[in-house]
């Protein structure tokens, strides 16, 4: 899993000002599951999973996902934002081990 933290963002190719744009994002991450011992008790340790996803557009937070271990491996999230001005869309993924992965997309109007 050398690719941990690789972020892919997919934004529609042509955006008009004022459009509500749907963005799809994916991050390569193991999203470790809770492990249990033979008695079914949870093994206590710091599981490595993403617990926060922050989407910012033009420096303003548009959406925040607080996630748990019930989210699939290599998590995929989609969301919308209203494209008002050209600028940067940034998606940050934070995991429980302090990892911080981010992907950016430049929003331009055709």
């Amino acid at each position: 899993m050398a690719d941990i933290g690789k972020v892919r963002l997919r934004v529609p190719s042509s955006i008009k000002p004022g459009d509500v744009v749907e963005v799809r994002s994916l991050v390569i991450h193991p999203m470790e599951r809770v492990e249990r011992d033979a008695q079914g008790k949870i093994v206590q340790r710091n599981y490595n999973y993403i617990n926060k996803v922050i989407v910012t557009y033009l420096g303003k937070t548009v959406a925040t996902f607080d996630t748990t271990q019930s989210v699939a491996e290599n998590p995929f999230f989609s969301f919308t934002f209203k494209a008002t001005d050209p600028g940067q869309l940034k998606v940050q993924f934070l995991d429980t081990t302090g990892g911080r992965y981010e992907g950016t997309a430049d929003i331009k109007f055709a």
């Binding site: 509500v20 744009v21 749907e22 799809r24 599951r33 809770v34 949870i42 617990n51 557009y57 303003k60 937070t61 548009v62 959406a63 925040t64 996902f65 607080d66 996630t67 748990t68 271990q69 019930s70 989210v71 699939a72 491996e73 290599n74 998590p75 995929f76 999230f77 989609s78 969301f79 919308t80 934002f81 209203k82």
Partner: protein, 178 residues
């Protein structure tokens, strides 16, 4: 940090004594009380932080009670569109998307969308916090499902109204078609 605080407060304390006529004793005593409170707060912090983690090993009823504190949740099938497959061949990756009919203006918008999987050991899957700038109340994610059961989407609007819809998903774990 504590030491620094102490030094600062003591200095401040003498100033107070001069101008407001407080005795040195009262100042010191209040400082001591403050110190105890801070220490207590620090000791309790890890416990509460853990207690408020979103994903916990609990039943759905407990999870809903913890998140919404017994507020009534209305049926939102008119406003919420929950998109999940009827049959998920692989419980490890189940695409879910939620669209809510909302104007998304600063006066009325969808504040949170929760996705809850009833049969999961950690039922709360995600909590999405939206801003009016999102333009549309929409979220999509790939989630895990431990076994067949209801998946619900709970929406909290900016005025505090709670709406929910649920759909049953059948999970074929390790089926031959997989």
């Amino acid at each position: 940090m504590e030491k620094q605080d102490g030094g600062h407060n003591v200095k401040h304390g003498t100033a107070v004594t001069d101008s407001h006529g407080l005795t040195r004793r009262t100042v010191l005593m209040s400082l001591a009380a403050f110190g105890v409170a801070v220490a207590g707060g620090l000791a309790a912090a890890p416990g509460t932080a853990h207690g408020q983690a979103l994903g916990q090993n609990e039943s759905v009823e407990e999870a809903l009670k913890r998140l919404f504190g017994g507020k009534t949740i209305k049926d939102g099938s008119a406003a919420i569109k929950l998109d999940v497959p009827l049959i998920a061949e692989n419980g490890a990756v189940v695409p879910v998307s939620v669209t809510v009919d909302s104007p998304m203006t600063p006066a009325s918008w969808v504040k949170h969308i929760y996705v809850v999987a009833d049969k999961n050991r950690i039922p709360v899957v995600t909590r999405v916090t939206l801003a009016p700038e999102a333009g549309r109340a929409f979220m999509g994610a790939n989630i895990r499902l431990g076994e067949s059961g209801d998946v619900r989407a709970i929406v909290e609007q900016s005025d505090g109204t709670l709406l929910q819809v649920k759909r049953e998903v059948k999970v074929t774990v390790g089926g031959c078609g997989g």
